[in-house]
Amino acid sequence: MYAQAFFVAVFGLAAIGFGLVVFRTSSMVRSALALLFSQTAVGCMFLAMQTEFLGVLQIMMMATEMSIMAIFMVMFMMDPGGLGGMDMSHQKRFSIGAGVSAAVVAIAIALLSDWGPLADQVPDAEAQTRALGMELLGRSMMIFETAGITILTAMIAATAVAIPVQNLASKNDKESSE
């Protein structure tokens, strides 16, 4: 149990550390990859909490997602290399206030709640994967399928939005719909 607490804390601190780097570095690729390592650390936390499937899945998905994030950062930022030392933020005080208060509220709730009896044991990874599969294709099938359809819809929608507009009329339409 102590080992578990230790690993959860270490990976958690890594996640927080990389999470902070995301908004503190001026190089955009570094920023995106810091987010990647933050998410990887979150995945490692899942592993430490004996949720192997989700942990590995998180680690796998984020590698691709954040790399794609990185190229968009390079495309859409004025100063992708971070050599100009530009400030890319606004309403700083308000944001810090909002972030801190949200975290404090959540921490307070976590500390003050009575969590009741906690589970000591969970099934091993193989049994978990099997049970999750049963869940996905049993009771939660509808949700799972909906998620799939939503992804498909989003893919089509994102592509439709991203391809160049053909004529001026449709361009105006799209701008107003944004």
């Binding site: 499937f53 796998m60 790399s67 990185a70 990874a125 193989e126 994967t129």
Partner: protein
């Protein structure tokens, strides 16, 4: 102990591959050449480009090596010769190999050079093409084994190897694995004739030695994955299990190198088109066929 044996096997296979690669390129079989080349790299000056992103530049070759070794850690050489027999081994290897992309992008961005950068971002496009063809065939393999545990996957092939059971999946996985290892003809990020080495271009000395080793190790890991998923892993008559694993792995790795010699480099747009228009539907068909087989054949 197991860790040491697996790592030694990995290193040995990488060395053998390097020897064979040299043999194919020069026609001379010199077992010591990779060793001397490696030592020569260590002795050479390790040049750092003018304004590198130092963290990425240094980390990329190491990350690539670590990723390849991590991938190998969940692949069994024999029933009990495996570093970590994870409950989600077949997924874990995907997760580990996804970081090949991260390493290549880091190697591309780090040195602050045009050739390297284009190479790095090219690999991102390549990933969009090949990644589905890694995941989907593995899905079909896991379906047959009814498990994500790699030893169980090998166990499920004791009577019939997956290459016979799902040849389509094997072909797709093999191609995608070559694209993942960015070997010719999929060497878009390192294209010698187009980018002068691409992501390799700015690396010299020790770093280049690590990068080379990492790329060879990656090929071995992918060949080993192919063996585990499709060629029945350690199954085989007469010889001990580990020998079969090694023989099959080396055979797959050498065939990966050989195929590259006889083909021109593919165009990125073509790769993308074929992977999405043909590859993914075929992978889905493969899943359906395997599903039907599982249901129909007891």
């Amino acid at each position: 102990m197991t860790v040491a044996i697996v790592l030694l096997a990995l290193l040995g296979s990488a060395w053998l591959l390097a020897v064979i690669e040299g043999w194919m390129a020069t026609g001379r079989l010199s077992p010591a050449a990779p060793l001397f080349n490696g030592l020569a790299h260590l002795g050479r000056e390790s040049i750092v480009p003018r304004s590198p992103d130092r963290v990425f530049f240094e980390a990329a070759p190491v990350l690539l090596l670590v990723v390849a070794v991590l991938g190998m850690a969940v692949l069994p050489l024999a029933p009990d010769l495996i570093i970590a027999d994870l409950g989600t081994g077949a997924l874990f290897i995907n997760a580990a190999l996804a970081y090949v992309l991260v390493a290549v992008i880091m190697a591309g961005w780090g040195p602050d050079g045009a050739y390297a950068m284009i190479g790095g971002w090219r690999f991102l496009g390549q990933l969009i093409a090949y990644s589905m063809l890694i995941v989907m065939p593995i899905t079909a393999v896991a379906m047959r084994a009814e498990s994500l545990v790699n030893t169980a996957i090998v166990g499920s092939q004791s009577s019939l190897w997956n290459i016979v059971y799902q040849p389509l999946g094997f072909v797709l996985f093999f191609i995608a694995a070559m694209a993942l290892a960015f070997r010719a003809p999929f060497d878009l990020p390192t294209a010698e004739g187009e980018l002068g080495g691409g992501v390799d271009a700015e690396y010299t000395g020790v770093r280049l030695a690590v990068l080379r080793l990492a790329r060879l190790t990656l090929v071995v890991t992918l060949a080993s994955a192919t063996t585990v998923f499709y060629l029945g892993g350690w199954h085989g008559p007469l010889l001990p299990p580990w020998a079969w694993s090694l023989i099959k792995t080396l055979a797959v790795a050498v065939s990966m190198l050989l195929v590259g010699r006889y083909l021109p480099r593919i165009r990125e747009a073509d790769l993308m088109r074929w992977c999405w228009i043909m590859g993914i539907p075929l992978a889905l068909v493969n899943i359906i066929i395997v599903g039907l087989l599982i249901l129909v054949v007891p």
